[in-house]
């Protein structure tokens, strides 16, 4: 312990006793809050909301794939399906956790939303590169755009459902919350595409399927920004 440390501790510890708040200000705050104070029901536990979001993403992704036809999963081998679905389930759970954390102030955050999107893209691209072959770009855009569109379309009900589950939350940082919710909704789109899309060419799934996650996240963040600037 150096002399500088002693002095620093003394200064900071001495400053720990806060100044009294001006009584008029305190009265103003009390007058704004206390009259008509009503009981409120605390939001459900974070665990319950995370579980709800995971079930929602799974249900939306699987229901949409049933609707469009389960051609993709039928063409994949057992190992390919297991690796891809396990990755989607894992990142779906992390994204659900992240979304709930962004709606409850002071909740522990496992990973930053931007970093999560990057990790999801990186891992999915890695798994697809190992699982599939084929880097020919014939009809690359013509086949890819419908997949991207369908994935984003499926993300919409997933995002709306997530909002219903989380609407009683309070986002201290709405843009981050939108980014997290968009990422989660995008996972429903990816799940549907993996179950449905019969095109198992590596370059196709690595670009058009994975792109659903960052685009859906971006849409979530932009929506949140629009609502915040209006409200």
């Amino acid at each position: 312990m150096t002399p500088g440390s002693d002095k620093l501790d003394r200064i900071l510890d001495g400053a720990g006793a806060p100044d009294p708040v001006p009584p008029a200000l305190q009265e103003r705050i009390a007058a704004a809050i206390l009259p008509g104070l009503r009981p409120v029901r605390p939001i459900p536990s974070a665990g319950a909301m995370v579980l709800g979001l995971e079930l929602l993403v799974g249900a939306v992704g699987i229901a949409a794939a049933f609707l469009f036809g389960m051609y993709g999963i039928a063409k994949m081998s057992g190992a390919q399906s297991a690796a891809i679905l396990a990755a989607i389930a894992f990142f779906g759970a992390v994204a659900a956790n992240q979304t709930v954390a962004s709606m409850i102030p002071g909740t522990r955050q496992i990973v930053r939303p931007g970093a999560l999107i990057f990790q999801i893209c990186l891992v999915l691209i890695g798994i697809f590169a190992l699982s599939f072959t084929g880097y020919a770009t014939d009809d690359f855009v013509r086949q890819g755009v419908p997949c991207l569109r369908a994935g984003l379309l499926v993300a919409v009900p997933a995002g709306a459902g997530a909002w219903l589950i989380l609407h009683r939350g309070y986002a201290v940082d709405p843009v981050s919350a939108g980014l997290a919710a968009g990422t989660l909704a995008g996972m429903a789109g990816v799940l549907m595409l993996e179950l449905h899309c019969p095109i198992l060419r590596a370059v196709h799934v690595m670009v058009w399927h994975v792109a659903v996650v960052p685009l859906s996240a971006l849409a979530g963040a932009l929506l949140a920004k629009c609502f915040t600037s209006r409200g």
Binding site: P18, D19, L25, I104, V172, D173
Partner: protein, 180 residues
């Protein structure tokens, strides 16, 4: 992390609509929050406004505190965001008025703060905003590293690193002052 049972009790009663508990919570936490804003180099008038705004948001979001969870990270997460919002609005206004020199970093923190100690604000003014925030949560609110990490939505490691760097800077500054 050791949650404050009194604060948790007051918060739970506040959620149940207990006016006395709400009044006690306001009285108990407001001085800490007020000092938190003052340590972020805002003027006293701005600190008053921020405190009032923070309580409005706390009131609006009171149902999002889960019984059994620590109260301080929840409160400070809201307070912190009120300050960030205020900073952004001030910056936008300032850039619109082309008065860039009047950004919130600039106001002198020293004037008119009775009892806050002569050296603290001058010392803290040397620190980047994120380090100042961590130091004020640790020292004014007496929060643990884990609680600060929750309030700032970062990891315990990142909070430790910021606190360590802040202490190093402040020690160096004090040593330099002692030599002069």
């Amino acid at each position: 992390m050791q949650p404050d049972p009194d604060l948790e009790h007051l918060m739970a009663a506040y959620q149940k609509g207990d006016t006395a508990a709400a009044a006690a919570l306001i009285e108990r936490v407001s001085p800490q929050l007020h000092r938190f804003f003052l340590w972020q180099m805002t003027s006293r008038k701005d600190a008053d406004d921020l405190l009032q705004d923070t309580w409005m948001r706390i009131h609006q979001a009171r149902h999002t505190h889960r019984p059994g969870e620590p109260v301080l990270p929840w409160l400070y997460a809201i307070a912190r965001h009120v300050r960030v919002d205020h900073y952004r609005k001030t910056r936008r206004r300032a850039s619109r008025e082309q008065q860039l020199s009047a950004l919130p970093e600039a106001p002198s923190p020293a004037g008119g703060r009775p009892g806050s100690g002569p050296d603290v604000e001058a010392l803290l003014a040397e620190l980047p905003e994120s380090q100042r925030e961590v130091i004020s949560m640790l020292k004014v609110a007496g929060m643990s590293l884990e609680e600060v990490a929750r309030a700032t939505r970062s990891s315990v490691g990142s909070v430790k690193q910021k606190a360590h760097r802040a202490y190093e800077k402040l020690r160096t500054r004090l040593r330099d002052d002692a030599r002069v």
